[in-house]
Assembly symmetry: D2
Homo-oligomer: 352 residues x 4
C-alpha cells in the first residue's frame, strides 16, 4: 500500500535543469490506472527538456514531471477499468489520442489532431508512480526482460519505421545510428531484409551498427559512399531508406542512395527546414516517402512484442548505466556526452 507522497524528477522553472521533489501520488480517474514505475528510460526529448531548448520553451509548462519511457506494475485501477488488475507488469503508449478527430476515426490515432503526450503535456514517468488511461496500457509478455520493457517507446519508433512498408528481401540504408537507428538495424534484420548500409559520423556508433547487424557501416563524409552503395545493390541504390538522423545532409544523402521506386521512411527530427532535390530524388524517382511519428496504436506494439518474445532482437549493446532518480545530474551529463546508451532510472528502488 503506497503512502500518499512520492519522489519525482520535475521541471520546476523555464530554464535548464530539473529537481527531485516530493509530491502527491497521482489521483486516478474512473478509466485510469496507477502504475508503480520499475524502470524509466531517458529519451532524446528529455535531454531537450532538461536543457530547455526552444522547442521545450514553446511546449512545456512547468512544473512538470517528465519522462515517457518506462515499465512498471499496476498499483491501482479506476472504477470503470476492465481486464487489468493490480500486480500486472505493464508499459504504456504515452501518446493519448482524442478518439473524435478525422484521424482517430479512420484508423490513424497515432497522428490524432488533439494528441496529448504523457511526460510532455502532463506528468510523466520519472517518478515512483504514473497515472495512465487504461486503454493506453500495454501488458508485458513475461518472456520480455524488465530493461527491454523500459524502452518499448523508442523500440516502437524503430519498429514503426522499419515496418511502414515491405522489408523482407529489401536492401536498406539506415542514416544515423543513434539508439533508434541501431534498433532499426536489428529490427530490419529480424524481419528478413537484404543488405543493410548504415551511415554514421561517429566511429563508435559505426562499430555498434555492425554489431547490431549492419552489413556495411559507412562514414557519410567518405567520397565513395554512393559508389559503394550502388556497387552493393547492382547499380540501382537501396530499396528502403530508414532516416534516423534528422540531419539535412544525411537526409539528402539518404535520398541519393535510394533507388527509383524505393521507399523512404523518415523518423529523424530535423531542427530546421530541409532543402531537398525534390525533382531528382522524389518525383522523377517515383519514390514513396513516409513521415513516421510515434507508434501505430497498437499494431506496432503487437509486432514489437512478437519480435521480443521470439528473442529476435539482441538489444543488450544499447544499454548504459542504471541509477536512482536522484542521480539525474549524472545521467544527463553522461547522455549529453553522447556515448552512454540508454540510461535507466530505477525509481524508489529502496522499496523493493
Amino acid at each position: 500500500m503506497p503512502t500518499s507522497t512520492m519522489q519525482a524528477l520535475r521541471k520546476m522553472r523555464p530554464e535548464r535543469g530539473a529537481a527531485i521533489e516530493k509530491i502527491s501520488i497521482p489521483e486516478i480517474g474512473p478509466t485510469d490506472v496507477l502504475v508503480r514505475v520499475r524502470a524509466a528510460s531517458i529519451c532524446g526529448t528529455d535531454l531537450h527538456i532538461y536543457g530547455w531548448d526552444p522547442w521545450s520553451a514553446s511546449r512545456i509548462h512547468p512544473p512538470l514531471t517528465f519522462g515517457h519511457e518506462f515499465c512498471g506494475v499496476i498499483e491501482r485501477i479506476g472504477s470503470e477499468v476492465e481486464r487489468l488488475k493490480p500486480g500486472e507488469f505493464v508499459s504504456a503508449e504515452m501518446h493519448v489520442n482524442c478518439g473524435h478527430c478525422r484521424q482517430c476515426r479512420v484508423g490513424q490515432p497515432h497522428v490524432c489532431q488533439n494528441l496529448k503526450i504523457i511526460g510532455i503535456d502532463q506528468n510523466g514517468c520519472f517518478a515512483e508512480f504514473v497515472c495512465i488511461p487504461a486503454r493506453n496500457i500495454w501488458k508485458i509478455d513475461p518472456a520480455i526482460p524488465e530493461h527491454y520493457a523500459a524502452i518499448l517507446d523508442p523500440l516502437g519508433n524503430a519498429v514503426h519505421t522499419v515496418l511502414s512498408g515491405e522489408i523482407a528481401g529489401q536492401t536498406v540504408a539506415v542514416t544515423g545510428c543513434g539508439p533508434i537507428g541501431l534498433m532499426a538495424i536489428a529490427v530490419a534484420k529480424a524481419c528478413g531484409c537484404d543488405t543493410i548500409f548504415a551511415t554514421e559520423v561517429n566511429p563508435h556508433r559505426r562499430a555498434m551498427a555492425l554489431q547490431m547487424g549492419a552489413d556495411e557501416a559507412l562514414d557519410p563524409t567518405s567520397p565513395d559512399l554512393l559508389d559503394r552503395v550502388r556497387a552493393g545493390t547492382g547499380g540501382s541504390g537501396v530499396d528502403v531508406l530508414l532516416e534516423m538522423s534528422g540531419h539535412p545532409s544525411a537526409i539528402r544523402q539518404g535520398f541519393q542512395m535510394l533507388r527509383a521506386g524505393g521507399r523512404a521512411s523518415l523518423l529523424g527530427i530535423p531542427s530546421q527546414p530541409v532543402t531537398l532535390d525534390l525533382l531528382g530524388d522524389v518525383i522523377f524517382k517515383g519514390a514513396t516517402v513516409h513521415g513516421i511519428f510515434g507508434r501505430r496504436m497498437f499494431e506496432t506494439w503487437v509486432q514489437m512484442t512478437a519480435l521480443l518474445k521470439a528473442h529476435k532482437l539482441n538489444l543488450e549493446p544499447l544499454f548504459g548505466e542504471r541509477m536512482p532518480l536522484d542521480r539525474f545530474e549524472d545521467a544527463f551529463r553522461l547522455l549529453e556526452g553522447g556515448l552512454a546508451g540508454k540510461v535507466l532510472f530505477i525509481p524508489g528502488n529502496g522499496s523493493r
Copy 2:
C-alpha cells in the same frame, strides 16, 4: 502506301527554335510498329525543347524529331509483332523501359533505370510517321474521340497522380491548374472524391478549375486560404494533396493544407531544390508522399480508358487550336503566351 519521305518538325541545332524538314520515313525493326500520326499534342516539355532551356541543352541531341503525345493508325508492323495489324487506331506509352533492371523486374517499369523517351531520346511524333516498339502500343477503344486520344500521355499523368492512393470519399487539394492539374480535377471527381480545393494564381485557370469540377478555386496569395481549407474539412485539412505546379511556395502551401496522416502525390516539376518544413509537414504529420513520374505501365492506361469510355471525363474545355505542323511557330507562340489549352498538330493533313 507511304512514299519514302515525310514531313517532320525537328530540332536541328542547340539553340531556340525548330524547323520543318523532309526526312526518310523511319525504318522499323522486327518488334516495332510504324504509326501514321493523325494528331499530336504539344507538351510543356516541348516548349522547353523549343526554347532550349538548360534541361534541354543537357538532355537533347539534335537533330531530333520531337513530340511525344499523339494518336494515329498503324501503317506497318515488324516481322515478330503479334496481335497488332495495319489500320488499327492507336496511341503509345512513349517511355520505353529496359526490362532488365531492378525496377523493371519488380513491377515498376515506369521508373526503369535505363528509360528512353521517344521524342526526347529518339525521334518522336511531330511527323507524319513515328516508329514505336510494339509492346508500347496502346489500342484505342472506338468510344474515345480522336482529339482525346491525342492527349493520353498527359491525361495518364493526371490519372496516375490521382489514383496513386485512395481517392473515393477523400477531400482533395489540387495546387496548380495547368492542363494536367485541370485533368486531375476531372479525374478525382469521376472517381468519387469529396470536396476539391484548387489553388491557382491565374484567374482564367481558376474559372476553368470550377468548370472541371473543383468545389472551390482559390488564389494562393489569399491570406485566408488555409482557414478556408480547414473550415471546409472540419478543421483537419485535406486527405489528399495533388501537387501539379512545381512551384516551391505552392508545394509548401499544399503540405500545409494536408491533414495529418494524409497523402501527397507530387507531379509538378520544380526547377530547383525545394525547402520544406519536413518535420511539421511530413514527419510529425505521418504523411505519405508519392513522387509521380510517367504512367503505370499499363495500369494507368487501363484506368484512363475505362474513365473515357464511360464518358466520365469532359475534357473539351482543355482544347485549343488545331493546326498543321508547318504552323509550329504560331503554336509555340500561343503556348508561350500561356492561354492556349492543348494545341494539336495535324500532320500530313492534306493526305486525308
Copy 3:
C-alpha cells in the same frame, strides 16, 4: 421533454411475430446518448427475427426491441459525453466493439471478437427512443436527406464491399440485386468503375439494376452469361466481383466471371456451407477474396458521407412505403412478398 414510457416493436416470445409494447424509455449510462428515432428501416435480418428462423432462435433472447437501421435526434447525453449535444441529427454504427481484443487493437474493430449488435444483442431502434454509446454516434451532414440517413447501415455495407479494393477503372460483376446489391452498383459507378455486369433472377430487380447504373443486367440462368461477360471484358473476365446474393450457385458463377488476379468481395450471407472450385476459381486464378462484415469504423462512414454530400448516389428507386410502427404487420408482409424496397418506420409520428 420525453415522458417516461414509449412505444416499441418487440420480439416477446421465441416464435414468429412481434408486438407493440409500452415500455420505459431507456436509461443511459455516463458514456451513452439517448436518440429520439425519426425513421427506422427494416433489414433482411429483421425479417429473419420476425419470422424466427434457426439463426434467430440461436442468437435472439426475447423480450427484445429489434431494429438497427435508423436516424434521429439526440434527446439526452450521458455525463461523460463530449462533442455531442441534444438536438443534433444523427445515425449510429450499431456494431459495438469491445476495444480490448486483438482485432480492436490492430485497427479492425468491425470484426471485434466480442462484438455486440444493437437491435440483436440489446434493444434496438424500432421504438421512439434508442440508447447508443456516444462513440458509435455518427453526426449526419445537413446535405443528406432524412430517408437516406435512415439507411446508412446497409448503404455502408455496400460502400464497404465496393471500396474493400481498387474500383476506379475496374470492370465489375455484381451477383444479386437486392437493396444492397443495387446500392453497390450506384456506389461503384460513383467511384469511377468500368462496365458493370449485374446478375439477378428477378426481372423487376434487373430493371432496377440498369436504373442504378449497371451496364448489363443478366439472368444468371442464361446459358451464354459467361460468354457475354468474357466478350465484354476482352476475354479475361471481370476485375472485381461483388457478391451480394449469398446463393451458392451465384457465388460459384461470380467466381467463374472473375478474371485471374481479380478481387472478390463477399457480402451476401449463404445459409449453408458452400462448395467451391477452390483450385480453379481461387488458387490457380491467384484471386484475392475479401469477406465483408459490417462497416469499417469509421472509414466507411466517411466515404459514404462524402458520396452522399456530393449527390453522387441516387437511391430514390430503392425506397418503398413509410408507416408508423403499429403497422408492422403490413410492413413485414410487404417485405416477405419481395418487392417492397426499403420500408421505413416512422415511430411516434404523432408527436412531430
Copy 4:
C-alpha cells in the same frame, strides 16, 4: 562444345511411366538461351505426370521432356539476347507469360491468361540441356549453393505464399508440412513472424516442422487442436493461415484456426471442389484470402535471393538423394513412398 544429341527423361505415351531417350539438343530462337542442366529437382507435379493421373491426361501431350525445377550453366544465347553470356550460373522462372493479356498489362504476369509452363506445355529440364526465353532466366548469386539453386521454383512458391501479406510479428498456422510447407515455415521465421503452429498427419514431417522452426507441430486429428491454437494466441486464432496441403479437411481446419480479420494464403492443390463454411470462416470473419499460383515475376525471386544470400534459410533437412537421370525409376519409387525429401537428378554427370 555440345554434341548434337543429349539424354532426356521423357513421357512417351499416355500412360504411367517414362523413358530415357536420346534426342536432339534443343534449337534456340533469337531471344532464347540454352542452359546445360547441372541439377534438376522432382516436383509433386512430376509424380502426377509420371503416374498419369486425370490432370496429366488432360494437360500433357506426349512425347514430352518433363521437369521444371533446375539450375545450370548458360551454354549458348540467341542473337538478340543482351546481358546474359555463356558460362553464367542460372535458374529460370518456368512459367512463360504472353505479355499481352490484361493480367500481363497490369503487373500480374504470374497469372497470365495464356501461360505456358516449360516442362508441362513444352520440353523441360529433365535433360542435359533446356531452352529458356532469355527474360525468364534468373542469374544465381554466387553465395547460393548449387543444390539450393535447383529448388528455387518450389522455394519461390513458399516465399510467394508467406509474403503475399504482412508476416512480421504475425502468428501463423501452416497446414500441411510437405516440402513447400516446410520451406514456408523457414521463410516465415526468417521474416520475423510470431508463433508458428504447424499441422501435419505424418509424425516424421511434424518432427521436421519443428526442426525448420515451427513452435508447435500438431496432429490435425487431435481433438484439442483448436483449443491449443486459441490458447497460444490469446483466444483469437492466428493472424495468418498458410495452407499447403490441398486437403479439404485441412483447409477447413485452417480457416477455423484463423482469427477474424486474418489472412489466408492458399497454395495447396485440392483434387476436387471444397465445401467451406464461407459465412462463418470468411464473410463474418472479414478474412482476406489469397489464391497463390507460381511466383511473382520477379518480386518473389528478389526476395528469395535475399533470404538465401543472407543464410537466413537452412533447407538442408529437405534434401534427399541425388542420382543420374537414368535412375529415374528409383527416384519416383522413393518419392511415391512419401519420405524422400527433394530428390535431385544430376543429368549428364559423367561429362563433368
